[in-house]
């Protein structure tokens, strides 16, 4: 399988400009730090991270809109220095409805951008019809862009990015500002592009559920660095191999309490309204849950319900972003103490 994106120590540092502002304390900032990524062709890859993590800067470097400070990358098989070839091979969708000509219709906007991609005459007309059909905008194509809803504008942005049949599509928070129905349609379209057209999708999102439902692999980015990369399920297991359980049972005698603690020394027991809620972690194959249920059965304790909570991507996200935030706050406190 060919590589869609490969980066090696890709870095972007914004230097302090040599001007009168040099008297300020601003020392420049590093937005992206030594990013190494390998994304295969046909993959649906997600990039998660808090605001200011460097996600958009990374994507803009890969789209050749921003020049890196250090490192190398190949996008769709071309080095970053070959910006023309890269821009012919990739599409970028941003959540910026200003990027269209509001006084023109959707169709006329696409006419212009098709010409920018060197599509001519009937070839352009056919392709425009195809992409409008793909995003379900054929009926609204002749309406002025200014009359479109947010969802329609986003769909037109996707249509525009597909005009030249890119091998790789960057989507920067495409479902932001969309309602659930529009988001669901967008997800169907993304899956369709990935599965039927084998388009590599690079998705930036804050929506962890979106990443979990769509992406084959995800990366978590924080403070310019990639913290972890992997399949959502393996990342969850990596963070917390065991599943969280909550078992609701009837009142427990002291002897039963003791038996349960023998099986689960770290069980948390909470009493509410005549019931006991047992909270603990157990692996799928360690037999602990079975032992507990056997103990409860033997002691004729009624079990009212069992719920299992597998580790979530949210926990993965929180783990890899909160840790650095904590370290950052600690270093800031230390810097304040030093001053």
């Amino acid at each position: 399988m060919e590589t869609a994106i490969e980066t090696k120590q890709l870095t972007k540092r914004y230097e302090r400009s040599a001007s009168w502002r040099s008297i300020s304390r601003y020392k420049g900032t590093t937005a992206v730090v030594d990013v190494d990524l390998l994304i295969e062709e046909g993959e649906l890859f997600g990039l998660l991270g808090p605001n200011g993590a460097g996600k958009t800067t990374l994507v803009k470097m890969l789209c050749t809109l921003i020049a890196p400070s250090k490192g190398t990358a190949t996008v769709a098989g071309f080095p970053l220095s070959d910006s023309g070839s890269i821009r012919s091979s990739v599409g970028l969708v941003v959540s910026d409805e200003r990027s269209f000509y509001w006084r023109l219709s959707g169709k006329r906007n696409l006419d212009f951008f098709a010409a920018m991609h060197n599509l001519r005459g009937s070839e352009a007309e056919i392709r425009i019809r195809e992409v409008l059909s793909l995003v379900d905008m054929s009926a609204d194509a002749e309406k002025p862009f200014s009359n479109y809803s947010t969802g329609m504008k986003q769909r037109l942005a996707i249509a525009r990015s597909l005009l030249h049949k890119p091998r790789l599509l960057f989507l920067d928070e495409p479902s932001r500002s969309l309602d659930p129905k529009a988001t669901s349609r967008l997800h169907e379209l993304i899956n369709q592009l990935n599965i039927e057209e084998n388009t590599t999708i690079f998705l930036i999102t804050h929506d962890l559920a979106e990443a979990e439902s769509l992406c084959q692999r995800v990366a978590v980015m924080n403070q310019g660095q990639i913290q972890v990369v992997g399949e959502p399920s393996s990342l969850r297991r990596q963070l917390r191999p065991k599943q969280q359980y909550a078992v609701k049972v009837g009142k427990l005698d002291p002897e039963v309490f003791a038996s349960i603690r023998n099986i689960l020394p770290e069980v948390a027991i909470e009493s509410t309204n005549g019931h006991e809620n047992l909270q603990f972690q157990a692996g799928e194959e360690d037999g602990i849950l079975a032992d507990l249920l056997t103990c409860l059965h033997d002691n004729q304790v009624t079990v009212y319900g069992i719920e299992g909570y597998p580790p979530t991507l949210e926990e993965v996200f929180a783990h890899f972003t909160a840790q650095e935030r904590f370290e950052d706050e600690s270093s800031q406190q230390k810097a304040g103490a030093d001053v």
């Binding site: 789209c63 921003i66 821009r87 200003r98 269209f100 000509y101 212009f112 920018m116 060197n118 525009r160």
Partner: protein, 268 residues
């Protein structure tokens, strides 16, 4: 490339036409301007003649050429920068840069409609001048005027591309180009012959391409000057173009790379 330029023209014409009232009213200024200077010319009468000996015409015929073609100078100076800034503020620049079209072509393409529009205005000025007023173009050297125009556009556009490059980096600069444009109007021979200026201002006027452009245009259209009579001004315009055009490309390329480096290509 021509297909691409056509795409920009169609885009901007359709956008312009969508503002119907504004589009129609934009031509009204031509009528007011022409009538104003006609009556000013009536006021001066024969008193202006000594200064217009080289052209052998009245003040109205002299000034209408200057006003009509000054549009190209103003456009050349500010048009590219304005097109760039507009695409930055409207957010369309990023979408255009995500195509294989170079940024320089995006800027040039975005300014093309303004040139077409200016040409339409020039034609209206000339038609108005000949049909309603005292402008006479019989015996004009139209080919000479066309060559003068092409060289003028190239020279002015070079300055404009440099200005666009500067504005790409510093983000605001309309005041600078406006100042330059106003200064050029003062000493460039648009409204009066440069010969009436003090000698120290004439030195400055000799450094501006607009001085030669307007004079060549007047000699071509009003006097029907021959190629040998036009040659001094045409050679100066050519020299400006040879120096400024490559310089503008280097400056613009540097500006694009600098903006990519500091991540501000689409910022405003």
């Amino acid at each position: 490339m021509f297909r691409l330029i056509w795409a920009f023209l169609v885009r901007d014409f359709r956008t312009e036409l969508s503002y119907r009232l504004s589009f129609l009213l934009s031509f009204s200024g031509i009528f007011f301007s022409a009538f104003t200077f006609f009556f000013v010319s009536e006021l001066f009468g024969a008193a202006a003649s000594p200064y217009l000996e080289d052209y052998g015409v009245d003040y109205f015929s002299f000034v209408i050429i200057g006003i009509a073609f000054n549009g190209y100078f103003t456009l050349g100076l500010a048009g590219f920068a304005r097109a760039l800034r507009e695409s930055q503020t409207t957010g369309t620049l990023e979408a255009m840069v995500m195509t294989p079209v170079p940024v320089s072509m995006i800027v040039i393409g975005s300014a093309t409609w303004s040139y077409v529009f200016t040409t339409i205005r020039v034609i209206i000025y000339l038609l108005l001048g000949t049909l309603l007023f005292t402008l006479e173009l019989e015996g004009a050297n139209f080919l000479g005027a066309l060559v003068s125009l092409i060289l003028s556009i190239l020279a002015f556009a070079s300055i404009g591309i440099i200005a666009a490059g500067i504005i790409m980096v510093i983000k605001r600069g309309e005041a600078i180009t406006a100042l330059f444009s106003s200064f050029a109007s003062l000493v460039g021979g648009i409204y009066y012959p440069v010969e009436i200026l003090p000698s120290w201002l004439q030195v400055i006027s000799a450094l501006l391409p607009v001085t030669y452009a307007v004079r060549a245009m007047r000699l071509s259209l009003l006097v029907g000057a021959s190629w040998s009579e036009l040659m001094p001004d045409l050679l100066v315009l050519l020299a400006f173009t040879i120096v400024l055009f490559p310089t503008s490309l280097v400056v613009f390329r540097y500006a694009v790379e600098r903006s990519r480096k500091d991540g501000s290509l689409t910022h405003y």
